[in-house]
């Protein structure tokens, strides 16, 4: 079903119509979800809005031709990280209703300032670096020109870049995962009087001596 390469796309003011409309729609959805995310009092509603924002990011990736990356975004962020957030919410404050997120006013201003700064920084960086760059969406198995700013569309393209050109960062990811996993355990474990080694907290039951058919202690 692939269109012939280099097919003329209908343009309006130098912009491709279809992708532009899609980008605008995605942008609106993301902004609305983002505003809801920070204004709602209910943490679970906030998490649902966050899903909307993340889905928008995934859609943007796909619009830029990075299909694999887009679905990775869905799989990892929506499928795993928001689940973790929700678990966090439910495990600590399972009660229904408004969670009091009454951050002090000073904190809110600081947060707003940070948000504006980050926005400015990212926009500047992206415009400076990629402002005039055009992404060539390479369809199918078409060969990619070396050095050209093309989107690694297929999994194979991505694998080629990742496992040939970016070996060290890739291996570094495994160390990050290692650190994250060990960090998770360190946070969750507790010292136990009966054992020399600290263990992850978990419910305990007394072993009843009758269960093993023995008399009382000593």
């Amino acid at each position: 079903m692939s269109a012939p390469a280099g097919q003329a796309v209908p343009l309006l003011l130098g912009l491709a119509i279809g992708p532009t409309i899609a980008a605008v729609v995605i942008g609106i959805v993301m902004v609305v979800a983002g505003i809801r995310l920070v204004t709602t009092d209910n943490v679970v509603h906030a998490a649902i809005s966050l899903m909307g924002v993340l889905a928008g990011v995934a859609a943007t990736f796909m619009l830029l031709g990075a299909e694999f990356l887009g679905w990775t975004q869905v799989l990892v962020y929506i499928g795993a990280i928001v689940v973790l957030f929700l678990f966090g919410v439910m495990l600590t404050r399972a009660r229904l209703g408004e969670a009091d997120l009454d951050a002090p006013v000073a904190q809110r201003w600081a947060a707003a300032g940070t948000a504006v700064l980050v926005f400015g920084l990212l926009t500047t960086v992206f415009v400076k670096v990629f402002g005039s760059a055009e992404i060539t969406v390479v369809t199918g198995q078409a060969p990619r020109e070396p050095g050209a700013l093309t989107s690694p569309t297929t999994a194979a393209d991505l694998a080629h870049d990742l496992f040939r050109d970016w070996v060290l960062p890739f291996e570094a990811v495994s160390l990050v995962l290692l650190a994250a996993l060990i960090g998770a355990i360190v946070l969750a474990r507790r010292d136990d009087r009966e054992h020399t080694r600290p263990r992850v907290a978990r419910p305990e039951i007394e072993v009843i001596d009758e269960e093993i058919g023995r008399g009382g202690e000593t």
């Binding site: 689940v83 399972a94 060990i182 992850v200």
Partner: protein, 152 residues
């Protein structure tokens, strides 16, 4: 990728949404409405609810979600690699073996820490029990030995 590959999926989404909303709408037309205070209560097997919802869950649920993220990311890296493994040759194999091995170290640690043991932990663990059996057996042996020597 062609974005219009996704158009049929959009149609499918619409069909599924229609299915959901139409059945909801039909039901709204057909179903009786007779709410009573008892029906609207949270389910509690017919008795009056006395206790609030549990506020705290075992931390292991959270840990599983954390570990899942790590493994999910690992699997995500495995997919493009799997597509290209033929062309990457030994280099690719070694690369991924190192990656998997490093994550496996973490896995071993987690496993040793008992994150995957969900049964309530017995306070008296097996080694302690064995020690106690040995002690008792030893005591019994000494006692019987003593009685034998006495008899002799």
């Amino acid at each position: 990728m062609e974005l219009h590959d996704y158009l049929p999926i959009l149609v499918l989404l619409v069909v599924a949404l229609l299915f959901g909303t139409v059945s909801r709408g039909l039901s709204a037309l057909l179903h009786p409405r007779d709410p009573t205070p008892e029906k609207l209560d949270p389910y509690e097997c017919g008795i009056v609810p006395e206790r609030d919802n549990p506020e705290r869950f075992p931390v292991q649920f959270y840990l599983v979600a954390m570990i899942f993220i790590a493994f999910d990311i690992e699997v995500i890296f495995l997919y493009p690699w799997a597509v290209l493994v033929r062309r990457l040759g030994v280099f690719g194999l070694v690369e991924m073996a190192v990656f998997v091995a490093i994550v496996f170290v973490a896995y071993g640690y987690i496993r040793r820490e008992g994150v995957f043991d969900w049964a309530p932990r017995k306070k008296l663990d097996r080694t302690l029990l064995l020690q106690r059996y040995r002690r008792e057996a030893e005591a019994a042996r000494v006692a019987s030995g003593a009685s034998e020597t006495e008899a002799a």
